[in-house]
Assembly symmetry: C2
Homo-oligomer: 366 residues x 2
């Protein structure tokens, strides 16, 4: 491809997640995007390396948006993987992705007013980086007027993902959006996959800052006003951009999907096949590893004997396990979890029980 | 009981074990006797508290014999539980219990030539301390001429213990030894228990130093010579008594059972019921707890849901587990183990595999 034809894109990495579904690895102090889950690098490192300039896209230095508590960690990890972000935006509070999109669009304009913005989560797995950049390049023409979301050809009837129903093809490899759907039940998911009309909603967006800001202003003027005011009243301190706490506190928390994508006439979807996964539970990590290797998926210093269908993950200490069937065993600095794969969605509940237990225990001291 | 009739006894606590069957809690750096397994105190602390002066026995301050590497740990733990030992003997090498018995007898003579010596392992559970002291007092008359070992009425056909076949009663509550047996197979153990003629061999001994030294000299003059020479050529440094490394290295390693008890005419056995257990595996710890409480045995910061027959042990960080059957889950600073209760004896093998794995991995760095 001629270098002159490559799109210029500002990647904005959203690192706001603080989920507990991957406890004990993912914790409030270091959520999953800061851990090496699917490879030897952390997920945010993999994400940053995925948006280096390449033969399909002229990526500019990335902008990272994360919780205040994670700013140093994000900067350190990116630096360690050889990526120097243009800025790390520190959120004083979590205000969901609509506010992030507004901040991202405005900063992207500042960095390069002619570039597109690629808004992408820090905690997704994409095994084929070249395919991903190819999809971004292919969607770039449509993204001048539209907010393009990337839809993943479903490999299985996942119930943990939202789906997008394809509308008419509007351009080479870009389609109208017929509908966004919530996470479906198993049967519905199976129908979606069989129909060939649905894609997984990846939560990755390509757009021009002007269009994004226009649409946010149209549907959520309150988000537009407070998010941009938080940026304007904030300040830059070297690498770090601080948002004004009062303005950002006043900003409603809403997702960009709900606030804009499900309302706007400017949505479009670009199908993409690149080994995408949103690792929302330990069983998904097992599935990702098991598909390509063996029945057991092990990571770290692990001895696993006479076992099948297991995920055994040792972060900092050795784990020895024997004669287990379809179990998840994860050991990290924060704790240990052991449960059947089919109960992986219950990790969150168990972490809440642990917290309640600690809260009860702490007044007594130790 | 009249105080003047109470036997004077020097307790010698053998803390030489370095077993890996209770990995990851028991490690070379801190074997099981230094951990809180059956109670909130470590096993060596429980052992030291068991031999405080009481209404049955005038116990003198204890002597501890342990590996050089564990001397400070032993002294610190005893001090923390309010027990000040008379001495802590540091073994430059492990030389099994015959050498320990010789050193124990000679030091006991030095501390009080008129007292009996009680040689007892640091890593046994005895739930009824009063019964134990009562058994020591009851055996003290016979122990003037005999080496009395304590035999435990078997509660189940354990295959992990040695057994003693009772001979004729020779004195109130003391019997001749008809035979010492090795660890039996399951069927044999069941026959032993059914017969009523067998006791578990506790490995606890009561004797006068003179008789013990005479018998060791008679059956193992080499052990006698080198063990005592190691003591004579060693030196005392405050609380710590150091054995001469060259002499102790030259001392043959043999157990007191094999070297003396199975040979001597001076053996006797005193039956004892006091909730004794030698926690040789995680399944034994489960049994000990499950008998008195529930089907699951948990210790530490544990959330256990929809599970049965499990032992879950959290030393230093929380463990969450769900929908498990008859599993052992132990988490410590050293690592994590997960395996079925019926495979508890395989822990040792798994630890060897982990070590081999680490040894292979270490040349590569990091």
């Amino acid at each position: 491809m001629d270098a002159k034809l490559k799109p210029r894109v500002v990647p904005v990495i959203m690192s706001g997640g603080a989920g507990t579904r991957l406890w004990p690895l993912s914790t409030e102090a270091a959520p999953k995007q800061f851990h090496a889950l699917a490879s030897k690098l952390s997920m945010i490192q993999e994400t940053a390396l995925r948006v280096l300039p390449n033969e399909s896209v002229s990526f500019l230095p990335p902008i990272v948006i994360c919780a205040e508590a994670h700013g140093e960690l994000a900067a350190t990890q990116l630096h360690a993987s050889g990526v120097e972000p243009w800025a790390v935006v520190l959120e004083p509070y979590a205000r969901n992705t609509a506010a992030v999109a507004a901040v991202a669009a405005r900063l992207s304009q500042e960095l390069n007013p002619q570039a597109l913005t690629l808004l992408l989560p820090a905690d997704h797995v994409i095994s084929d980086s070249a395919a991903f950049s190819g999809a971004v390049a292919a969607a770039s023409a449509a993204a001048v007027e539209r907010i393009v979301t990337f839809g993943v050809t479903p490999a299985s009837p996942e119930t943990g993902y939202g789906y997008i129903r394809l509308g008419p093809e509007m351009d080479d490899a870009v389609f109208e959006v017929s509908a966004f759907t919530e996470k479906p039940a198993r049967d519905t998911a199976a129908e979606y996959v069989a129909s060939g009309e649905y894609l997984w909603n990846s939560g990755i967006f390509l757009f021009t800052p002007a269009v994004m800001l226009r649409e946010i202003h149209a549907f959520r003027p309150d988000v537009h006003r407070h998010a941009l005011a938080a940026l304007d009243s904030g300040g830059r301190d070297g690498l770090f951009i601080r948002l004004d706490p009062q303005e950002f506190a006043a900003c409603p928390a809403d997702s960009i999907d709900f606030a804009v994508m499900e309302q706007t006439q400017a949505a479009a979807v670009s199908p993409f096949d690149g080994g995408w996964a949103d690792l929302g539970s330990w069983s998904e990590l097992w599935r990702l590893g098991a598909a390509s290797e063996a029945d057991n998926v092990v990571k770290g210093e692990v001895v696993l004997v006479d076992s099948s269908g297991c995920l055994v993950f040792a972060e900092d200490r050795p784990v020895a396990a024997m004669e287990l069937r379809d179990l998840i065993v994860v050991s990290s600095k924060a704790g240990v979890i052991v449960l059947p794969r089919h109960r992986a969605q219950d990790v969150k509940t168990m972490v809440e029980q642990l917290k309640a237990r600690s809260a009860l225990a702490s007044p007594e001291g130790c």
